[in-house]
Amino acid sequence: MKLATRNKLTSAGILSVPVIWTLVFLFVPYAIIFTYSFYLKQFPTFVPAFQFGNYLLIFNDPQYLQVLLRTAKIALTVAVSALVLAYPLAYFLVFKVQSKKTRLILYMAVIVPLWVSYLLRAYTWKTILGSQGVLNSFLVMIGILEEPSDIFLYNQFSMVVTLTYIFVPFMVMPIYAALEKIPRNLVEASKDLGVGPFRTFLSVTLPLSTPGIVAGATFTYCLTFGDFIASFLVGGPNGLMVANVITSQFGAALNWPLGSALAIVMLVVVLIIISLSDRIERSGKLDLA
């Protein structure tokens, strides 16, 4: 056998497993869902068809549109909150913590919660924000509240708090990586050229860390957009997200076509976000080589 043929066969052999895996467990299910999204609901189940009724329903029925918009709003709020929390932390870790050991410990403190069950972490906030929770007891104890309040839990606020807490590591990591990649002498060069610390941050550090911000925002936004457990645990009626509606369409409502159409809409939204962020990162001329 010729060497070239043998090389081709070897690489085909190596590639076949992941390719087959991706095909069977990603593309085939997507294709099935995509097909379902054109099916027609007919009590008690649904029949094959090719029609856009499900999509039209999503964009015409205010109920679904509202859930989509709410999901987008919560995802955006979570992304922004996570950014506001993560950036100063990452900045502090990279530029202010002198000892490598301390930096590692603090960084790990941010990452470690990722190894704890998602469900458990979401549940924790239930015990913190609930009417018998830690926050209420504390506020009553120091006299700010007369009696426990239920305003902290089962609303969009508790959703945002919980999801921000859960996804903040995904914001810290890329920003930390981006800041760490900035050569220190660029900051020095800026100061050397007569520019004070604040303007140096705005003109050098911040622009050079945008790839991290964009990546972090994409992670947190997309993860939140597809989340359904937080809504389930701490959301309440006003915290319903697209993913919850989809679950119910495949479950209690038994409307797989509509659920599929919603899933496809969600997929498209996420793909748009990812390709946008990819484009921003590419256009930024942020080549630090």
Binding site: N185, E188, K191, D192, G194, V195, P197, L208
Partner: protein, 367 residues
């Protein structure tokens, strides 16, 4: 005249106890081209960074044009730095990089434009104004970095190993260019380098550092011809060291016993006496070779065997192993092709000349 830069009794140590700079005094006059030279870790970069304001001294003061700037942050100091790896902002093009400091500190747009054009013309990069740094070669980035530092018209230009990242040919060209630039602008240059040839070629004055202190400061010729210590002699140029014992002293010369041979060396100091152990230092080009037979009756010669011959183009460097196993290098100038005939072969027995003048003498141990 008041020095433009005055580093006064400055000490700086780093966490972990390393004393990078130990009680250093350094005065630089206006318009001077001073090179801080030394091996890595000798404190030369730390001094430069303290002048720039990136590090602050533990004790001592730094004056710029008479003003105490010890406590001033870098952005309030009238000096600019050319960084070792250029430190160009990757998210700005050449023009934006050069104009950055002016633009952000509120200089009017038209003025920035004029100054940036002038700076780019000075470093002959006007045609690259709209390129990104990543599109430039190493030498071009170096020029952008220079233009960016010079556009603010600093009192002192600090250069941190500016040529170390360039390849050999480009480095030679940039040496000349930097020197011209210095003459043209008339501002003070302080350059850090570990490369002695670079320092010798470029500087008005070399400050040679050793372990956080100044080993010797002077013109390149002074450091080369009259090194104060064996360290200086070793660092600047190539030196041969031969150890011996003082046999006799006179008003302007001494006799040194090296391995049984008596050598006469000019020396006019009075801090030397019979029995002192000394080290004789001879530059390879100030010595010469003779064949064993032609040595008879000649003085100040040491016998040895040729162990290696290195061809350098302009000269041949012959390594001779002396009788006590000390290596001794002698340069034979090749002024015409017939000089090749004077080059010995490996293994040949020869004698090396220790010149009476041009030989330096360091006391290693008093007798």
């Amino acid at each position: 005249m008041q020095p433009i830069v005055n580093v006064s009794s400055v000490t700086k140590s780093f966490p972990g106890g390393l004393v990078a700079v130990n009680n250093v005094d350094l005065q630089v006059n206006e318009g001077e081209f001073v090179t801080l030279l030394g091996p890595s870790g000798c404190g030369k970069s730390t001094i430069l960074r303290m002048i720039a304001g990136f590090e602050s001294p533990d004790s001592g003061s730094i004056f710029l044009a008479g003003d105490d700037v010890t406590e001033l942050p870098p952005y309030r100091r009238d000096v600019n730095m050319v960084f070792q790896d250029y430190a160009l902002f990757p998210h700005m093009n050449v023009r934006q990089n050069v104009g950055y400091g002016l633009r952000v500190t509120g200089v009017a747009k038209e003025e920035v434009s004029i100054k940036v054009d002038a700076a780019l013309a000075l470093v002959e990069l006007s045609d690259k104004a709209n390129n990104q740094p990543a599109q430039l070669s190493g030498g071009q980035r170096q020029r952008v970095s220079l233009a960016r530092a010079l556009v603010r018209n600093p009192k002192v230009l600090l250069l941190d190993e500016p040529l170390s990242a360039l390849d050999a040919n480009l480095r030679d060209a940039m040496q000349v260019e930097l020197k011209h630039l210095h003459q043209k602008l008339g501002i003070t240059f302080i350059m850090v380098t570990h490369d002695q040839t670079e320092a010798l070629a470029m500087a008005d004055r070399i400050v040679l550092m050793q372990d956080g202190t100044v080993a010797q400061s002077g013109t390149p010729a002074e450091l080369y011809d009259r090194p104060a210590t064996p360290y200086v002699a070793r660092f600047i140029g190539k030196s041969n060291f031969v150890s011996g014992v003082i046999q006799a002293t006179r008003a302007d010369s001494v006799d040194v016993n090296v391995d049984g041979k008596i050598l006469k060396v000019d020396y006019s100091g009075n801090n030397i006496q019979e029995g002192d152990y000394v080290s004789l230092c001879v530059r390879p080009e100030k010595s010469s070779l003779a064949t064993k037979d032609s040595t008879k009756g000649k003085s100040n010669m040491l016998p040895g065997v040729v162990s290696e011959i290195l061809f350098h183009g302009a000269n041949v460097r012959v390594e001779v192993e002396l009788n006590d196993n000390t290596p001794f290098f002698v340069d034979i100038q090749l002024q015409s092709n017939s000089h090749y005939e004077t080059v010995p072969t490996i293994g040949e027995a020869v004698t090396v000349k220790i010149p009476t003048g041009n030989t330096l003498l360091f006391v290693t141990q008093t007798g």
